[in-house]
């Protein structure tokens, strides 16, 4: 008789995986979770390592350690393990792992880095388990391991009809010595990678059963809403909670760190409780508005930067002297909120000497560290569980909302779910930095681009990517970037830096091409050829892969073909997070002269494609996000306070504005790169360049909707 849930120490071992996959912990236990039939069939489940569990029925459970924000890693990362383990995807279950730094090396959702950083260790985790299964079968049969092979969850002997299902081998396999330097499959032999695999949570999502952080409900838990300073830099003077405490359902009001938290027995009551607070904040009349920032940005760029340039090839000062033609354009980037559709929230249950945190966070490890410091409980006494997230886009890289929840729970001594209203979320975010960019280019008498100057200033000191195209292709190339200090909190926003740099650079390249009478595609290919043949300084892109996506997208869009009347195209490409993406936006000029976005063509080189369906949807989503924010996105501030607080004041792209999108992936055996971000950066530039082609207007300030040119 087997007892449910009791750890069976048979075969326990602990070894470290040199590849960076973290500790391998092999032990077996009884998989009560497999008792879903209710018929009392219990399968013994064995942990091969931190990623792989197989039960005696052959069912494989793969752990997904990285936070899932909609970028698809809960599906794509286990696919990598499954490919090397050689199992049938229909016999695989996926479990979201909580934060466990002993087992997993990088549990972060950011910088499109999950796939990139996990590629080697995840493959090795699968391959190691597969070799252990082969070795166990070979030992049982008394044959050489080299005479055995695997296919779809079974081990076979080449010279006989012997076969073991993985499920039959779990105990003997886990007792095998953990092999080192296991062979990995070559891309040509992949059975699963590159296929279209559906999001593993689809069943739960379409039935409403999927639980997000905001859905967390526990015994004794209070719903909490918080009043925070309405303007960036404002502080709490005093407050009166009398009326708030009269709201039905409100149980407690506490204050901390210039914030006032209302605890209630339902979310609505907590929201009403916050509205009923009478609060005095310090004055914000003297705080700057975004129009002041813009004035100050322009003023600052009138003087030369006194900081070291980010890049300085040749000498732009001498190059700009007495040249045939100087081209210059200025670009304005507004603040952008992340607007994850699931607003910030987190569950916290802080006890005297331990704590549980549970919810949506892109950076669980760093967050736990911050919370530990704040509440004075050591990290190892804090358990952090991850929920599927209703979007991230960079906002959930920040831990402010988790720290808040922990503090409220600590002070109120109850479990809490702190829920932000949309207004809290949009008005008090960590915005994409507002910035201002000035570009200057010098052309010689033969219309060759001989100098390029990027000079930018913004609420972040890092507005440039100085080693990206067209760096390397221009003899005199200088990048200056300056920091403008403000009390506004800013942070990474989907495709940080790239999300606006691509727009500025690719618009400026288009402008130069047009001023020199060159075709924008030909001009880019010429620059890439120059960077290939006579590179200037170090660059971080590959000229051939860059040129290939440009050529491919041109081919898809019929770039050089004659277009029907009223159809115009714009081209842009950008290298970011390891991937090369080129896009063509096609516009239609309507009878009234207004423009409609008709179609977007996109060519991507991200190396090996892990999940075709997931990859495609990430790129499509990135394009839509890029178009939507270029068209409509802007947070303005008046005296430090956001003017847009909800979707009646802040426009997001909707169904009727979305064009048809065609995505092509370049066939490649290069290591795979993540795709949460690279699809976004070129979209705004391709749109602006198409507008220029259509009506000869150069859009330089986002959001474009300010120019009344679209339908």
């Amino acid at each position: 008789m087997k007892e449910l849930g009791v750890m069976n120490r048979r075969g326990f071992m602990k070894v470290s995986l040199a590849s960076g996959g973290g500790m391998l912990l092999g032990f077996s236990w009884l998989g009560a979770c497999n008792n879903s039939s209710g018929e009392g069939v219990i399968h013994e489940q064995v942990d091969f390592n931190a990623f792989v569990k197989i039960d005696s029925s052959g069912m494989v459970t793969l752990m997904s350690p990285n936070p899932e924000i909609g970028q698809g890693v809960k599906t794509s990362l286990p696919m990598i393990v499954a490919e090397e383990l050689d199992v049938d995807w229909k016999n695989v279950k996926i479990e979201q792992a909580g934060l466990d730094t002993e087992k997993y090396s990088r549990q972060v959702a950011g910088g499109s880095g999950s796939i990139r950083s996990s590629w080697d260790s995840f493959r090795k985790a699968g391959a190691t388990a597969r070799v252990m299964l082969i070795n166990a079968a070979a030992a049982a049969w008394g044959v050489e391991s080299s005479s055995c092979y695997t296919s779809a969850g079974s081990v076979y002997h080449k010279d006989s009809d012997k076969q073991f299902k993985y499920g039959d081998l779990v105990n003997s396999a886990v007792a095998q010595k953990v092999p080192e330097d296991v062979p990995l499959k070559s891309p040509g032999t992949y059975k699963l990678l590159g296929k279209r695999i559906a999001n593993v949570d689809n069943d739960a999502i379409v039935t409403g059963k999927q639980l997000y952080g905001i859905d967390t409900k526990r015994e004794g838990m209070k719903y909490v809403c918080i009043s925070r300073p309405p303007a960036f830099g404002q502080e709490l003077v005093s407050y009166d909670s009398t009326e708030s405490l009269k709201v039905s359902g409100v149980e407690k009001v506490i204050d901390f760190d210039h914030k006032i938290a209302v605890l209630a027995n339902n979310t609505w009551a907590a929201m009403q409780g916050v509205k009923a607070l009478k609060i005095e904040w310090t004055g914000n009349e003297s705080f700057d508005s975004t129009k002041d920032y813009l004035t100050n940005f322009k003023k600052a760029l009138e003087t030369k930067s006194n900081q070291d340039p980010k890049r300085n090839d040749g000498n732009i000062d001498t190059a700009f002297e007495g040249v045939e033609e100087i081209i210059s354009l200025d670009f304005e980037a507004p603040f952008l909120p992340h607007n994850t559709l699931e607003p910030m929230n987190f569950f916290a249950d802080v006890k005297t000497d331990s704590a549980e945190l549970y919810g949506p966070i892109q950076t669980p490890e760093r967050t736990r560290k911050r919370v530990a410091e704040q509440i004075g409980i050591p990290e190892e006494k804090i358990q952090l569980g991850l929920t599927r997230m209703g979007g991230g886009f960079g906002r959930r890289l920040m831990s402010d909302f988790v720290e808040e929840a922990a503090m409220v729970s600590k002070l109120a001594q109850v479990p809490v779910n702190v829920i932000w209203t949309r207004e809290d979320d949009m008005g008090g975010g960590f915005y994409r930095p507002m910035g201002y960019y000035r570009y200057k280019a010098a052309l010689d008498a033969d219309h060759n681009l001989i100098a390029w100057h990027h000079d930018s200033i913004g609420c972040s000191g890092n507005l440039s990517r100085q080693d990206n195209f067209p760096a390397g292709a221009v003899e005199n190339f200088r990048v200056d970037s300056r920091l403008y200090e403000t009390p506004v909190t800013t942070g990474p926003w989907r495709a940080p830096n790239h999300n606006f740099i691509a727009f500025t650079e690719e618009s400026f390249v288009d402008e130069i091409a047009n001023r020199t009478g060159k075709d924008p595609l030909t001009f880019r290919l010429e620059l890439l050829k120059q960077a290939e043949d006579n590179p200037v300084g170090k660059v971080d892109y590959d000229t051939e892969r860059y040129a290939n996506v440009l050529k491919k997208v041109a081919d898809m869009a019929g770039w050089n073909k004659v277009k029907p009347d009223g159809i115009y195209q714009g081209l842009a490409a950008h290298f970011s997070f390891g991937s090369y993406v080129a896009e063509v936006v096609e516009l239609e000029k309507m009878n009234d002269g207004k423009l409609k976005i008709k179609k977007v063509y996109c060519a991507v080189d991200c190396g090996i494609v892990i999940n075709k369906s997931g990859a495609e949807t990430q790129v499509e989503g990135g394009i839509i996000d890029g178009l939507g924010h270029a068209l409509y996105g802007e947070i303005t501030l008046t005296n430090g306070k956001a003017d847009q607080l909800n979707f009646d004041q802040y426009r997001l792209i909707k169904m009727k504005e979305v064009p048809e999108i065609e995505v092509h992936f370049i066939q490649s055996d290069e290591s795979p790169m993540g795709l949460g971000e690279p699809g976004l950066p070129p979209a705004g530039a391709a749109l602006a360049n198409a507008v220029f082609a259509a009506i000869n207007v150069r859009l330089t300030a986002q959001p474009f909707i300010k120019s009344d040119i679209f339908v």
Binding site: I69, G70, Q71, G72, R196, A198, N199, D201, N202, D203, I205, V206, T207, G208, K209, Q210, L211, Y212, I214, D215, K217, S248, G249, N266, T267, W268, A269, M271, Q272, T340, L341, E342, P343, R388, M389, G390, G391, G392, T421, R422, S613, G614, T617, Q618, E620, G621, I623, I624, D625, N646, F647, D648, L652, I653, K654, M655, K656, V658, E660, I661
Partner: protein, 153 residues
Amino acid sequence: MSQFNLTINQKKYDVDVDPQMPLLWVIRDIIGLTGTKYGCGIAQCGACTIHFDGKAMRSCVLPISNVGDAKITTIEGLSDDGSHPTQVAWKEMDVPQCGYCQAGQIMAAVDLINKKPNPSDEDIHRGMTNVCRCGTYNRIKSAIKLAAEGGKS
């Protein structure tokens, strides 16, 4: 606080709540059906879409005192097992990215297909005004067409 008798997914519920509390929060916090989501609280994003006597409605601005005898359906009531043709189409087209808006999108889509069994692009553009922050719009459109086709056969 007042007593209300609700019919949600063909089940009766008696709740004692503030008459001003929107249906969304009654469904989520009092009854405990969390498939219906909060996104904006001002009927702009559509994450909270439910069916009110069979018609799509945004529940975040509908006070419980205005629900009356209406039959309410939430995403959980569309089918027990995800077998409703629109849910099936959503899985077939692999629509969700983060998934947060999708319950609302599906409820809006079901109502659209009920009204327009063979929706054109124009019908879909007019009928589907819910926000998807991940940008799954094109797959939603394909799924609606697939579901409409499935419904006819």
